[in-house]
Symmetry: D2
Subunit: 360 residues, 4 copies
């Protein structure tokens, strides 16, 4: 392989913006013991700035890594941060200006926020699905006058990520024409404190603010074609209904798909089973053994039991069967805070290292 | 109104078959203090027969009505039961033979079991939707040689009931051509002990055995046309995906509907809001004020908060909006063990009393 | 009975302070259709003031009563409120000054807040247990220079209420010397949004801020003796451990009790079974048929199944048995937002009406 | 160290009895990739015998290890099993005879069943707490006439295990005189299907059949003294109240302890913090870094968040504080199916390997 990967080198220092929130914590948990990256700086709101991370954070899951606990929290200002690789877990109310400022300062921003996702010159990437879109970074840099090294790469909404991975093999093989998607989403998708327990216990809420439009447009962009200059969105139509359920982690999506080109069920199953995505995303530190796992157990995937597949980076697909209205229906489950958020961002960064865009 | 209704009369004695199970208990709870019916007999399996009901049952919710607690449990044999009105909460493994035997003996059987639902001469009824199908009873009696008074009336699968009530107004006004339905169903739909807690807690199971086929065929029969001799199923196609969620009571269904005849959203909303169903089902002891309630709150209906509407007999519809693929999508919620099971059966019986088919 | 009760009179106008919060909403739900009281005014923070109640509130459970929905929300200032009976669901951060101002202005304040509970001249009342303490109102009025009609009556912490009702019969009959109490408390005890779902789902939190001290001191005051001038706290010692569990409503408490005077188990059981509390609390609109229900089912009371006993006003006691260390142990369950909050306040007000302290 | 431990040797073949149940599955999951043991045989009821394990089991969590999936299930008869080390996850209805038969045949039985726990010549062992009791095996062998290599070692009830580990440091340092213990136990403690979801969702059940007596007697045996011939139970008294809560894994126990010899809080805290248990249990494959972790976070341990400490082998203690009635109260949490069941058995076996009682 001609790509440059870190070898015996010291780890690349990275910063986490919005480090005290739920997604920020997931970044820090996943980056602990990462072979290529080390969390050198953490930044959050003015309220937290100046405190040690340990004092600033209400740590939610597992053990707080000792090295990060000792860091002093910075404000989210490029002048305060040395790292040239920045993971953004910022709230969308502030992410726009801050992420642009970091890119302008020459940092590569890997963002979970929605602000730049639909910008024409910003890649929205799941690397197994559309790593090629990362080449949009040079278009972006030229268009915005950002210096070498600076740029913004986004990852998708957590539910859209699961659906995109489940649709990609069929879109590649047969074309997707229309998709119904109904989601059953975990409470961790809303962050912390997030969903009140009185709303979640023994309940379903058939609504998440602004979630359905994200699903209905991000899928087209991710599955769209990049011609070296711009992305042409995939021309299929999506109808989404989202639901919040009393599950901790894991977004389950029910998909019904009309293909552009009809195919027998065994070919459809084969397309899903054999799919391993863009090779540039394989074998990286955060890559799962298989980006997609297909189960034939009649009652799987299940949210709690399958969410951890591939350490949260594998999407599990099941209940594949013909659809009475469209061609095929099935169920896909993915980990919303790992594959659908922090883990996806980190995998994007790993691809950029492999491509030499991020250097030690 | 020319229909005969009980007036100052003594209450009609009824029997409950399968009285110790979850649905059987719901019958007994709903029939306590019923103005027209009184539970005079209870029957269950050989294992329970001979015990008092109090000793035979593991009572699940609220207080066990004292009058019923004292009854001796009978076996499910027409020779052991006096009542001419029989509510069946039998398991489908035994319901077929037993219900036929009771009908043969001249009893009117109101059944929750699936066995006879799709039989051409057996009405499958939600009275607001298709009370006219009850006239099939005379066809049934003639065809099967059952005596006057004998017959079987079924009510639908619990999830199909919710969907049917939500679709009926649109089918009546515009015609339904295609429907996607994804359900989020409560654990009480599986009876007791039913779903193990290790399967339910923090989990979604995207499968319920034999449930999707029921949804895909019962809707067509209920919304079909009865010409005096037979039912012509409604000619629309249904695609169903069912899910079990950690909710106690209440089946939530996500619907996307293609109409035969397109209509503007305000007319669609109007059709749902103004629908009150067949007048024969109005004003009965179990009738809710409105069979369908339409909410405009963006995040409703919710399973736990809306399941009790109309004492469990109202289906609540919300999130009505245009669908990017079909014409309209929305969410409907109903109580699975009341409207979708025992309460629905009792309402069917009340209509039969009003029609003079059941007499004191 | 020589007590004056409303008869054919028009209902007494009352105000609810903190009306938009979870406890405030429970007041409004319980006061809808109350035979003696009518909610004439609602008050909340400046942020809500001026809006209609419907617009100001995020209504959590059931239907918002139409009469109250139309009211304009006032600020919590005696100059803005006409009603002479005021139910306070205020947060403790502001309840102290506001409640005193209302009492000073001649209103009778029935408070859920903790601020005045332990004040020597303020009654802390569960009427079946210690209605006699209400006579402390005249001491209070004299001490504080409040006008006729003005005063503050508090009800206890929700968990303390359940424990107090379960202990009262034993304290009255045998004396209580030492009590261990471990609680399993519902999330609704923390209000709304309250406990984040990520903290509640599949979890136990063995801590609720400031809850154990309340339990350890309020029990003594409520079970203390009033001599016409002051309350002498009951001299027993309490050790409390509280836990938050994934239950919507209902605080379950595990009690182990050392009696002052040992007694055989049948006498202890008899004391609990026969207890009906101070007669002044019987037969009021909010009185349950029995303040205490004793179950002998081995696995009851259960939070979800028994919380609604007596429309939330009955405490259910079970698992009564000898204790290897003290004399007796048992389990008690009560509804935290009804008996332990709004319902308890309303019952206190009803007693004051019966006593002629509150007049139409 | 003079103890013999496997070194470069091939792994010891072991059998799992009751292999298809929930505890049996946990054995198989924990023994996958074990450095000293390999699951060579699985046995279950006649119904499963003859099938492959894959076909016989309804696998509940994670991936079924491929090597075990292929094994043919045997009946639980010593004549059918070669392994000389046998882990028993049998139901107590059959465990007595079968375990004795295996011991009689010369197999070392590590049992989770309750049948032999209280037998005077059978060690009931948590190795950090009372590994010395394992020497009772030679008494047992002599008394029962079992051959060399044959014997039964039991581990305790899951809730008793958590309590015993939390009490051991205080009993060793100061003596325990009286203990109140109230548990909040996970549903997995009841196996699969176990607790129905209608019993668990939004509910607490303050009862588990036969659980309180186990807690009240097993603690004394485990913390008792072994003089080379017999165990003298620790002479303290225990009062237990158990509760089932809607938690998947993790038994939380609330303890209030009266010491034989009073001690200041810092010494009590020190005893807990510094305790590492019998050195013979340290550094084994299943040993956690620390058998007991003490947290000072005010709201910890929490069931879901701390159950995985030390891969399920560490008990976490928190909320340590003086008790108003006894000396000290605190909360302890442990993993019921790992430390409290299969993991505890495996650790017992590892100690026996180290002691040379089990040989390759």
């Amino acid at each position: 392989m001609t790509l440059s990967e870190p070898n015996g080198m010291s780890r690349i220092p990275v910063a986490v913006l919005g480090a005290t929130g739920a997604v920020g914590q997931t970044f820090i948990r996943l980056l602990a013991d990462h072979p290529w990256f080390t969390v050198a700086e953490v930044a959050a709101s003015e309220r937290s700035a100046g405190k040690t991370y340990r004092d600033a954070v209400q740590w939610l899951e597992g053990d707080l890594p000792a090295d990060v606990a000792r860091l002093t929290v910075r404000v989210c200002d490029p002048g305060e941060i040395q790292a040239r690789v920045v993971f953004s877990a910022l709230d969308s109310s502030v992410a726009g200006d801050i992420e642009a400022a970091f890119a302008q300062s020459g940092a590569m921003v890997l963002s979970n926020a929605k602000n730049f996702r639909m910008a024409a010159d910003v890649p929205l990437v799941i690397p197994e699905v559309n790593a090629a879109h990362l080449a949009l970074l040079s278009v972006q840099r030229a268009a915005r006058g950002w210096p070498t090294g600076g740029g913004i790469v986004t990852n998708a909404n957590c539910a859209a990520t699961v659906a995109a991975m489940a649709l990609a093999p069929l879109h590649e093989a047969f074309g997707v024409r229309r998709v119904f998607v109904v989601t059953l989403q975990a409470v961790s998708g809303a962050g912390y404190p997030g969903v009140p327990s009185l709303d979640a216990l023994g309940n379903v809420i058939p609504y998440i603010a602004d979630e359905e439009p994200k699903l209905e447009r991000e899928l087209n962009k991710m599955l769209g074609r990049f011609d070296g200059r711009a992305i042409t969105p995939a021309p299929f139509a999506v109808s989404a209904q989202v639901n919040r359920v009393a599950v901790e982690h894991g977004h389950l999506t029910c998909l019904a798909v009309e293909l552009t080109q009809a195919a027998p069920m065994d070919e459809i199953a084969g397309a899903l089973q054999s799919w391993s995505g863009d090779p540039v995303a394989c074998g990286l530190p955060s890559s799962p053994a298989r980006p997609l796992a297909v189960t034939t157990q009649p009652d799987r995937p299940q949210s709690r039991r399958d969410v951890g597949a591939g350490r949260g980076m594998t999407v599990t697909v099941g209940r594949l069967r013909p659809d009475p209205l469209f061609h095929v229906k099935y169920v896909a489950l993915g980990h919303n805070t790992i594959r659908g958020a922090a883990g996806g961002s980190i995998l994007n960064a790993e691809v950029l290292v492999r491509q030499g865009v991020i250097r030690a």
